[in-house]
């Protein structure tokens, strides 16, 4: 039993060691595989969102010269705004049809079996409303020919994004191959073009059958309102609570309860906060549904534990010697904290707050329960009253769009995700810069 190994040379690797080294190599490979899988998941996620969503930032527009026919818009020629207002959007549709008819009549433009009436369907339903808004704003333009850049319908737009093909159009009641051929001719004539879609960022949501007009304006504004509420509430409350717990709280059962409570709250599923919001803020306190104020309050309660935890970490990172120094020159405990500790911890607190805000910005589930899924077309008013108006929120808008049948909304949903991710990236970048710039090692 003695000195088994001394007989063997170090230079020769024995069988057992060879086996062990093989096991070592296998283990390493498992690790690499795990990392590759995780990276592939990230890449897959990003590719999926980008390939589906980037096209939402492009939109097909049709530029048409429309003759604003006084016979239709201002029958008695009085120019009376009240009378012009009486003409509904239905009164404007024929004007577009007229223009399209002239294009169809032009040489080489005609498409068999395509009437101007069918061709109008290639233009978004939104267009008539757009023209009406223009005319009401500029009544003196009646009788003139004005060039409009109309949104093409979702299907025509989809044709240029590869979502709709001639074959699928055969089976589609909303689009026909003839319409697509005409669209190609319009494109050749330079009347139809694809360009950057600012409307996606600025317009309000649109109804089920006009995906081309749907935008994120209300959702972005709603999210901004909610973030403002969250920031205004979590920062002071979170910092105050952290200062108390970290600097003043005596070590007793009550403090223990608060601490355990905070760490547990941080792990409560977000949807439970939605239920809380519904029961307390809406049913009990009677605040309006879908309002950014309620969303903000719910997200505040949800983010507060996270912010308290990160703020306490920043406070804890300030060495006790600073407090001792301040107390040593006769400052009160409160002065030591507010004059010395808090300023030193501020960058860390801000970083934590921004990261907490970013989390709140992407949160969806609780907002569903407080009615933010509602279809909102109107922009909320200016704060503070606007906080009580119905609004959407970015992540909820995404969910909303995925629930709709038209595949064009799937593209919009992915596009909205990109917008959301850009916001998050921006916030996290600020947090990282803050941390890099002000991080202090003691």
């Amino acid at each position: 039993m003695t000195d088994v190994s001394s007989t063997s040379s170090l230079l020769a690797v024995d069988d057992r060691t060879r086996r062990r080294n093989a096991a070592e190599k296998r283990f390493r490979v498992y690790g690499v595989i795990a990392i590759v899988l995780a990276m592939l998941a990230l890449a897959g996620l990003m590719t999926s969102i980008l390939t589906n969503g980037l096209s939402a930032f492009k939109q097909t527009f049709v530029t048409l010269e429309v003759y604003l026919d006084p016979a239709k818009l201002d029958k008695d020629g009085s120019g009376d705004l009240e009378k012009i207002r009486k003409v509904s959007t239905f009164g404007y549709a024929p004007l577009i049809r007229n223009t399209l008819q002239t294009h169809l009549d032009a040489p080489n433009m005609a498409v068999d079996d395509l009437s101007a009436k069918d061709a109008v369907k290639m233009i978004s339903n939104e267009s008539a409303a757009e023209m009406r808004r223009f005319v009401l704003a500029n009544p003196d333009m009646i009788g003139e020919t004005v060039s409009f850049k109309f949104l093409a319908s979702g299907r025509v737009d989809g044709y240029y994004k590869g979502r709709v093909t001639m074959e699928s159009a055969e089976r589609d009641s909303n689009i026909s191959p003839q319409q697509l051929m005409f669209a190609d001719k319009l494109k050749d004539a330079g009347l139809l073009e694809t360009s950057f879609n600012w409307g996606f960022l600025t317009r309000a949501d649109a109804s089920e059958n006009r995906p081309e007009a749907a935008g994120l304006g209300v959702a972005i504004l709603g999210s901004l309102y909610m973030m403002a509420v969250v920031l205004c509430l979590t920062l002071p409350i979170g910092v105050a609570a952290s200062i108390y717990l970290e600097e003043f709280a005596p070590k007793n059962w009550f403090t223990d309860i608060v601490e355990v409570n905070i760490s547990n709250l941080a792990a409560v599923p977000s949807i439970v906060f939605g239920i809380l919001g519904l029961a307390i803020f809406i049913n009990f306190a009677g605040l309006p549904q879908s309002a950014p104020i309620v969303g903000g309050l719910v997200l505040t309660l949800m983010t507060l534990p996270t912010i308290i935890i990160s703020t306490r970490a920043s406070l804890k990172a300030v060495p006790p010697s600073i407090r001792d120094a301040a107390l040593g020159v006769g400052a009160s405990k409160m002065q030591a904290v507010f004059h010395h500790v808090l300023p030193l911890a501020a960058p860390g607190i801000l970083t934590g707050t921004i990261i907490g805000l970013a989390q709140a910005l992407g949160e969806t589930a609780p907002l569903l329960l407080i009615g933010m899924v509602a279809f909102v077309r109107e922009f909320p008013g200016a704060p503070p009253e606007g906080l009580f108006d119905p609004a959407a929120a970015l992540p909820v808008q995404v969910y909303n769009w995925t629930q709709r049948a038209d595949p064009a909304f799937a593209e919009r949903a992915s596009g909205a995700i990109i917008v959301l991710l850009v916001f998050l990236l921006f916030m996290n970048a600020i947090a990282i810069i803050l941390r890099r710039r002000f991080e202090r090692r003691w």
């Binding site: 039993m1 003695t2 000195d3 088994v4 190994s5 001394s6 170090l10 230079l11 060691t17 062990r20």
Partner: protein, 265 residues
């Protein structure tokens, strides 16, 4: 079986176990060990002494290639054990470390039972054919570690529950369980109280019968008590190497003299 704890020259048939030639160690840009040449005898306790940061621990960790686990560390030169270059490409550090055991500054038992602590090495190196075999190895190692009597009734208790001195002897027992030929000890008593230190020193003296022991120590008294050979390191250089009695009574180098008399260190 008991050797009288007499210094130096009672050990007969000294053969060179480890020989180091022109060893340089770099930590990143720092040149930590410079031109070290030393021959360490078998069945001898060799002490490395010197002020903090002189490189004695670093050199010790070269002998079983523990420095391989540090990314920035680079070793140049030859270290041979029984004439075989341990930095040869064909040498597997895993096999080497079974042959060259190590005991660390702070006792570091694994958070496992006493039995599993000892059995860990034999298990990974496949030294036992069956459970009975392993039991024998564990008992033998614990006896060699002079801790058997204290723990034989609670082999299933966690090793972390022992006192500091017991933990260190457990770690020594753990190191000898793989039947090494060389035992490296990196300040094994620095975290222990005087009584535990005395026990460990006694144990080291016994271990000399079977192993070459290389011990790094801060305490000159300890070096004088346990070792037969002493090497004095200073600023990464091996200043002087010789019989312990000679180093402590009649050092050749002025720096050794200064260190021993307490003028540097």
């Amino acid at each position: 079986m008991y050797d009288a704890p007499i210094l130096g020259d009672t050990v007969d048939q000294k053969t060179t176990k480890i020989s180091a030639r022109d060893v340089q160690v770099y930590y990143g840009d720092t040149h930590a060990i410079k031109d070290v040449n030393v021959d360490i005898d078998s069945k001898t306790v060799t002490a490395f002494i010197g002020p903090s940061g002189c490189g004695k621990s670093t050199f010790l960790r070269c002998i079983n290639r523990m420095n391989d686990t540090i990314d920035v560390c680079r070793v140049v030169g030859d270290i041979k054990i029984d004439g075989e270059d341990i930095y040869d490409k064909r040498v597997d550090p895993v096999q080497l470390r079974a042959k060259v055991g190590m005991v660390f500054q702070k006792p570091n038992p694994f958070p496992k039972s006493i039995y599993d602590n000892i059995a860990y090495g034999p298990r990974i190196h496949g030294l036992a054919k069956n459970k009975a075999d392993l039991d024998v190895i564990v008992e033998k190692s614990l006896r060699r570690g002079a801790i058997w009597d204290e723990v034989k009734d609670r082999l299933d208790a966690p090793g972390t529950g022992l006192s500091g001195g017991q933990q260190q002897r457990l770690c020594i027992a753990r190191a000898v369980a793989t039947e090494p030929e060389v035992l490296l000890m990196d300040e094994p008593c620095s975290a222990l109280d005087p009584i535990a230190t005395a026990q460990v020193e006694e144990l080291i003296d016994e271990l000399r019968n079977q192993f070459s022991v290389v011990i790094v120590t801060h305490s000159m008294q300890q070096a004088a008590r346990v070792s037969q050979k002493t090497a004095f390191f200073h600023l990464g250089n091996l200043v002087e190497y010789g019989d312990t009695s000679q180093i402590f009574t009649n050092p050749l180098d002025e720096r050794t003299q200064n260190y021993i008399t307490g003028r540097i260190g």
